[in-house]
Symmetry: C2
Subunit: 350 residues, 2 copies
């Protein structure tokens, strides 16, 4: 499993003509070693891989990787020594995540641009990863179902968020995938609203964005509920978002559709309602070891959707001072279509 | 309050002879704008400051900063235009946090090394910051007291961690400062252990490391409890750590003691028990907007401890396969001595 991953990245290293890469991201380190939540530097060469960690992480690292670990208090020096000893000249770095200082420390090597390559490899999920992500999604939904009866006028946003955070852990998650968002009424016009002591009121839309972290993999989903009676205007707002999500999801033809086409499909649908100007973020993002990862589903990204990608489709509208609505589900791309993970039958047109 | 902070950093900018700095860290953006949890780029010049954000954050940013916000979908281009329009030639970056790509994007400017300067400014807390951090500490301790009666053999690590996470929120925190660690028996020999379904057993040490995030500021503390009967060996292990913490805390003379002296004092104490080799991390770290920030209390850091610093003192011993003990409290440096924040009278020599 790890071997397959290393083979994938080495194949890219050959393509980019680099003899080695340095990995600083703990998500990438988890992907390539199986060791989660560790800080260190993973050096991958064409023949070898070696994890450099401080003594703090020595015991955990060695338990998994044995003698492929280098415990040290002078990491950069030891990395340079290791590369020199192995006669390595070229080193690939991700310019979007590696720090300026790393490049300076490693200035004796031929530094090459290896930006985004680990993210591209991680974009196509393996079977065990898909299972973990599904577990993370069902765990979050199970937790949500426990909290669902309490979502009613009079409860505060924070009470619901705290309860959901608790139930996500109780349902078996290691932790929340991210801080749960509960946003009601005008507060929901901020997509990243932090739950407050504001009470939920009758007639408001309540946006609940949450996820679970299970086995090091995440889920991310958003439901929106209308408190109390529907009226024509509210029905129109909600259904615009609902159909934007539905049609964007249904249009996907694996191997042919580009992500920007999917984004465009959602925008087109919102435009029919003259609501596209209130859709102020991109349509979605990959989900896996990171809550937000490749592929990013936005209007600038023209990559083709391929089987075993997992990403969110989450159109929303945000009308300042008035309301917000977002519907987010995760899709697994299959050979001929997509599967909505942990599909929620209660999220339907109103 | 924000004005004082801007004045502090501008004084450093003059010292470093830079006309502008670019800030990418959301902690720094919070510090210099009062807007928390936002992504964007803050440009500070000697005369002006301007926050560049995507439309996603436009509403929140403008609500606080008004026309000092630039909402844009082409951030880097707009930043470059802004700098050029203001005839700015030199730009300071933190090389340890700024990405290689930023430096390349900004290659038309004279890039100067401004590494760690915002961290140095943030190291000395202002009155309102001290109050927030104290609230975060007392909130965490209040939450802990609710969970304390449940810490007994038969409970699992994860049950206690989940309950504490819940009570921290219930006590008024926005969220945990970090994922609570509950580590028992041999598990505690990993300082970063993630709570498992292992049941706590009689005779074990249980390490509980937790904190709260209140008003955007954090707390961080660790208690260790012995389940069941003391014996001479356990008493010796515990008291070694207890006295290391006590003497390291008591020795601090603000304006004179260096942080490495404090670290050394703790190590010396552990050495008396021949346990210093099991102390595998540094003695502490500053706490504030970030859970880990300046000053880092380690053997390489020779800065002098000054009033209004807040940092942890957390010696520990980690004996692989056997046990772990860590005691962590936060101290506020006063004019002539230090105050232990949210002092816990039940953590005493055994």
């Amino acid at each position: 499993m790890i071997d397959v991953r290393l083979a994938k990245i080495r194949s890219r290293m050959k393509e980019f003509d680099v003899e080695s890469i340095a990995i600083f991201s703990s998500s990438d380190i988890f992907y390539f070693t199986g060791i989660n939540n560790i800080e260190g530097v993973l050096i991958i060469t064409l023949e070898d891989e070696r994890l450099f960690v401080s003594p703090l992480y020595g015991q955990i690292a060695e338990a998994v990787l044995g003698d492929k670990v280098n415990v040290s208090v002078t990491l950069m020096k030891d990395i340079i020594d290791y590369l020199k000893k192995n006669d390595i000249q070229s080193l690939g770095l991700d310019f979007l995540s590696a720090r300026i200082q790393y490049e300076r420390d490693l200035s004796g090597f031929d530094i090459k641009d290896f930006t985004n390559q680990t993210k591209i490899v991680r974009m196509i999920k393996e079977k065990d990863e898909i299972n973990s992500i599904k577990r993370a999604a069902f765990t979050a939904r199970n937790a949500f179902m426990k909290v669902y009866p309490y979502i009613k006028p009079g409860k505060t946003e924070k009470e619901i968020a705290d309860e959901l955070a608790y139930q996500i852990r109780k349902a078996g998650a290691q932790k929340e995938a991210f801080e749960t968002i509960v946003a009601s009424g005008a507060n929901a016009s901020n997509p990243h609203h932090i739950p407050t002591d504001k009470k939920i009121e009758d007639g408001e839309f309540v946006v609940i964005d949450f996820g679970a972290n299970v086995d090091g993999y995440n889920s991310d989903m958003t439901y929106t509920f209308l408190m109390g009676k529907k009226d024509d205007e509210k029905r129109r707002f909600f259904n615009a978002v609902f159909y934007a999500q539905l049609f964007a999801t249904e249009m996907i033809a694996p191997g042919r559709t580009t992500v920007k086409d999917v984004e465009q499909r959602a925008r087109d649908e919102l435009k029919k309602y003259d609501l596209d100007k209130f859709f102020i973020h991109s349509l979605g993002h990959g989900v896996g070891i990171d809550v937000h990862e490749f592929p990013y589903i936005n209007s600038k990204n023209s990559i083709v959707i391929e089987p075993n990608m997992i990403f969110t489709i989450e159109p929303g509208i945000y009308i300042p001072g008035k309301l917000g609505i977002r519907l987010e589900h995760m899709v697994l791309v299959k050979e001929h279509d997509v599967e909505v993970i942990a599909f929620t039958p209660f999220m339907e047109a109103i």
